[in-house]
Symmetry: D2
Subunit: 381 residues, 4 copies
């Protein structure tokens, strides 16, 4: 299980803010009002689990004047700044598209936003620019599918020219939402075609909630690792649409199968280019414990995946022993790794039960008392 | 086609306000600031199409002090107030449920809200109280599925006791959203079981966007008409989730098949208890023309459905002539009824092309100029 | 865990025959040639697991001249004959429907087949007549949806009149397949409406593979138990369509949630009317071990569900403690019950590891050697 | 509409044989017993529609000793032999895979089968070798996803070396079935990655029934045309799974949108590399009329797509006029092109109503009378 030492899970700053549905966003006491408070909350998760050393930022939600100071602030709390996420879905100009817009001026505005993000990366020392494009159309005919692809390719190429030698562009795909008829980057094939055209430092981002019903996600993981184009994961889980629930909550067996392909494909090796990140919303549950639970879920399923007897598995597979091969997988899945992981934490100076430790810490009560006034962070700001 | 004379489509007041996704709500010039402006816009749709004589209200979004005055206002504009829609999804108390909540006090609060709605109905002369329940849970274990059903039954029974002899309770079902693991009224079977237990004046509301992928909606229409429990339609269309697109926009052939079962089951007869209503969002398209297009889509598909040669169809069906029976349906679907409907409008003193007439009317420019200041209506208020 | 003593899982005779897809049915050495050999194989599963005391028959596949003799044969092997399954999908007359057919003569033929099945039940002492209706249409217009429902109701009523006082009719629903446009009993609501109209001895059969993508099956379990209309389960699992894979293989967490609602709703109580049955196909895996694995999966998930601390769960639910309530569920799911179940088997005189015991028994080699010549059983005969 | 002259639709020989579901294959009088009778039936479709000049063969179902003679026979009937389809799903050796099998000997056998197919192509003068791979697994762990991809790549490369300079390999993808957990070529991305690695004469085959629920197929069409990798279409339609219904029957608007992207992307241009083919099953409807209806559906939707005012559409798109742009599309879709197409047929010496002409021809009665004895063709042989 030494590969488990290579597991680092990036936390999204926005997971600590309020989120919800188009029907309602519920607020909770103690919700951060700014990026520093988000980072402080994220640092709690790392302090208790040892698994989450970096925090992803979302621009403009997390925009500050001095990123060096922000970076120092994070390091004082024991974490580092990570991936920079762009946002081209909340400006009125982007109502009908951003990098794909038919108007060159608006495309340039969207490109410029990404160049701004790269500038932030230069200051924060971030490696990855993550592009999740909300572009798409709601009605057949509303946009020219083909022309939008061509414009997207051109826009991405322009952005890519500014990606530094130690930086990467990761392009996320999403089946639907917010666009309801056509999404400009709807599947891994589209993302793969674009990043292949861009070059070596362009990779695909796989969000586990962004697929059609029934999609075999671990297959895509295996395929992208084979093609050397899996750049990062956005972990979460779903029952229906992009529910953004706690990773592993909806289908823990699926998470296990994904982690098995992660191991199989070398994504937990020390030289792996794959970034593991959460992208979840805690609409009705507590946020910090929600993130703790999430990183523990990934750790637990990675630990189970690492238990698989790969030699016996290969033998059963080569033998056409369907039940035997499946049983080897299931045996690892059904093994309760929680006691072993608790001991592992203790050995590393971490609390055996991070959630209990968080509850005992009084942190939640403290921030609820301190963070009074101001505007709670949410996707709006 | 005389049955077409029985087609009346209720407009939702909220379709004229701003709407969007959890990512962004775009505003547009001229968007109503209050319920009167919404009704004024709705009246335009009726004036131009002759199809939309009533407007549904949403409480509390459309709450006023004097409903008699509001009713008079509407009638002066040529329309009437229709269905009253309750809302138990935006109060912080309802975060974990309303009519299903484990806390009796909160359940009572939700019940009281519905009694308030019935009081509004008494003043507006509305027939239908529509209950769409956002209740549900996001995580397995979060709620007790069975106990929530029992509490729901009890709450509905209490509300139903206050439904007047000429009033009805219509219970809408929805597959998912905003709840992501379990919805308390997820399917027509659940709604049917509840309204059957309540009594004769309780009916099911079928929203065409609220089903699992692949669901044969016209089957449900036929079944509920057979069981005499179809109370109303919420028309819209979808590609993925509850997209709330213009009815007929995503799959016009499906709308045609639905309208065929509507005719087949007597829902267009003069004594039909079925209310036809839109429930759409115009997130990126113009709102008033969007509603005009919608009622015309329903009218066009009803007209096509009425073209079906039902005697020939039955003969082909009884004959096992699969292609022949299907061809009879398709022939009606492919027949271009638009010229005939244009003539029909002209005969009734309506513009042949309602959309062109709207554009020519200058109404949009007028409201854009007049409706300055204030807060544009949206789901939030 | 004493409720576990009430868990009995019926095996389908056809699971021991060959099955496949429309593309290919693969045969395997030792496959039964007749119903006696199927029962012999089923008896092995019960001998090793103590969980599967009955075998369901499919008429006409398992038709014999002397059911009393067959029953005696089964009892000699330690098992009993169970549910009788009708078949109205392989006779050329039923190409366009059976109980729903527009031709009264063909409907009567289908009714008569069910009366024959009841006669078999009278001889075998079976309680349940299970009706899975393959009726449906492939193209819009091919059949009259409404008229077919009315004919179905009439046919079922005629059959129901012959159901004895200690017998039951259980009506299965299925989302699609073999019909591709419209299935006459597509959902639990339709089955519920029909069995409610029939009477007390008519119940719904829930096949876990027969739902639309994303359907919350445990909700339906809870609802049908609440309505006292859940008659039986057909257990299997699926990734895409009606895959008929080993129960628990595709989504063990879903099976756990279903078993939790089973317990919650009293379906494991000693007086429960719910019959638990497998309905699976072992297209590429070994059949007898496939059935052993299946009954063990149900047992394991029932055992995990019985571990749930229901008092703590209710407290967390009432408290709005989303993560806490979910954690109570997950804790039970992640607990490895296999060692305890192995001990339980040993205490009952059963092998601790039924699969290993089967392999050690030499049974498979014996039947492979003995069952030479003749025609292997499959769905065709 | 001159582009319509470029529309040629290849017919699959197997569409004229019997087909069905895993539950039942119904036979019909007059069903071909061999490939010559299939070609004779296909020639009827072309004679009456002028749209279907070629017939695809399936090896080994359509294997003959003398392909030159078969080719001559076809030409005497006015048609030519087209795409050669391989089959690696019915040999017992391929139970656990063919081109992906872990056993090199079996992989070689599968490769050799494709080399045999290329030899057939050399004799028939066919351009395309179509590879639809049924390979996949039913249970997690059964196979090594990654290793299977690597072996697939190697096998395809070997086959591709034998593809002549005027020949092509087209690789079809399919979401699921017959495999139920993992399909080795499940999506266009996988097919694209493989054919890109092979070379210029390797292309993707898009079967309109092989996608996850909700997939925007016209997007994939547009994308593959943009990437110059769309080799051919397998047309059919679906409500649920791979229903293989008549193209356009389930969602005519979707077929229209697909044909619009076909036109938009140049796939109807005279130098287009895209082959249009049907791949349907007529399980319950008449087969020859089913094929006639199908080619007419493609023709009708192509004609509608060609009516779109592309200049006005682009203007509306650039204007952000969502409703206007959509209306331009819908106007073309709702225009009844059938009279114009009937006239076009008459001008070309074809019957105005091909289906009526077929019924009047007496062909069906003749083959029913003549084709007595022997074994009707089906997927089995």
């Amino acid at each position: 299980m030494t590969l488990l030492d290579n597991l680092h899970i990036e936390l999204p700053s926005w997971a600590f803010g309020n989120s919800g549905t188009r029907f309602k966003v519920f607020g909770t006491p103690g919700t951060p009002r700014d990026v520093r408070e988000k980072i402080a909350d994220a640092a709690q998760v790392h302090r208790l689990t040892g698994l989450a050393p970096t925090v992803a930022l979302h621009i403009p939600w997390d925009r500050v004047d001095d990123y060096t100071a922000l970076s120092d602030y994070a390091q004082d709390l024991g974490v580092r700044l990570g991936t920079i996420n762009s946002n081209t879905f909340q400006d009125d100009d982007f109502k009908f598209g951003s990098l794909t817009h038919s108007d060159k001026t608006i495309r340039q505005k969207a490109i410029d936003h990404h160049l701004d993000c790269i500038e932030v990366m230069n200051q924060t020392g971030s490696r990855d620019l993550k592009v999740w494009l909300a572009d798409g159309t709601n009605y057949p005919g509303q946009g020219d599918i083909r022309a939008r692809q061509d414009r997207l390719a051109e826009s991405l190429a322009t952005i890519y020219q500014h990606i530094g030698p130690d930086q990467r562009l990761v392009l996320e795909y999403k089946f639907f939402e917010p666009a309801m008829y056509m999404t400009d980057v709807p599947d891994w094939g589209t993302s793969y075609a674009h990043v292949s055209a861009l070059g070596e430092r362009a990779m695909v981002c796989l969000d586990t909630g962004h697929h059609a019903p029934g999609t075999n996600i671990e297959f895509i993981v295996a395929q992208l690792l084979r093609l050397a184009k899996l750049g990062s994961f956005d972990f979460n889980s779903r029952f229906y649409a992009d529910d953004d629930l706690i990773v592993g909550a909806a289908d823990p067996f699926q998470l296990f199968r994904i982690m098995f392909e992660v191991v199989r494909g070398g994504a937990l090796d020390s030289d792996s280019p794959v970034a593991f990140m959460l992208d979840q919303c805690h609409n009705v549950e507590e946020k910090i414990p929600g993130q703790i639970r999430s990183v523990m879920n990934v750790e637990e399923m990675a630990a189970r995946a690492l238990l698989i007897d790969t030699e016996a598995l290969r033998a059963a597979q080569d033998d056409g022993d369907v039940l035997g091969a499946n049983a080897i997988l299931m045996d690892a899945f059904y093994t309760d790794v929680r006691p072993a992981l608790a001991r592992r934490r203790a050995e590393r100076g971490l609390p055996e039960d991070p959630l209990a430790a968080f509850r005992a810490s009084g942190y939640q009560a403290r921030i609820a008392a301190e963070r009074v006034g101001g505007t709670q962070s949410s996707w709006g700001a």
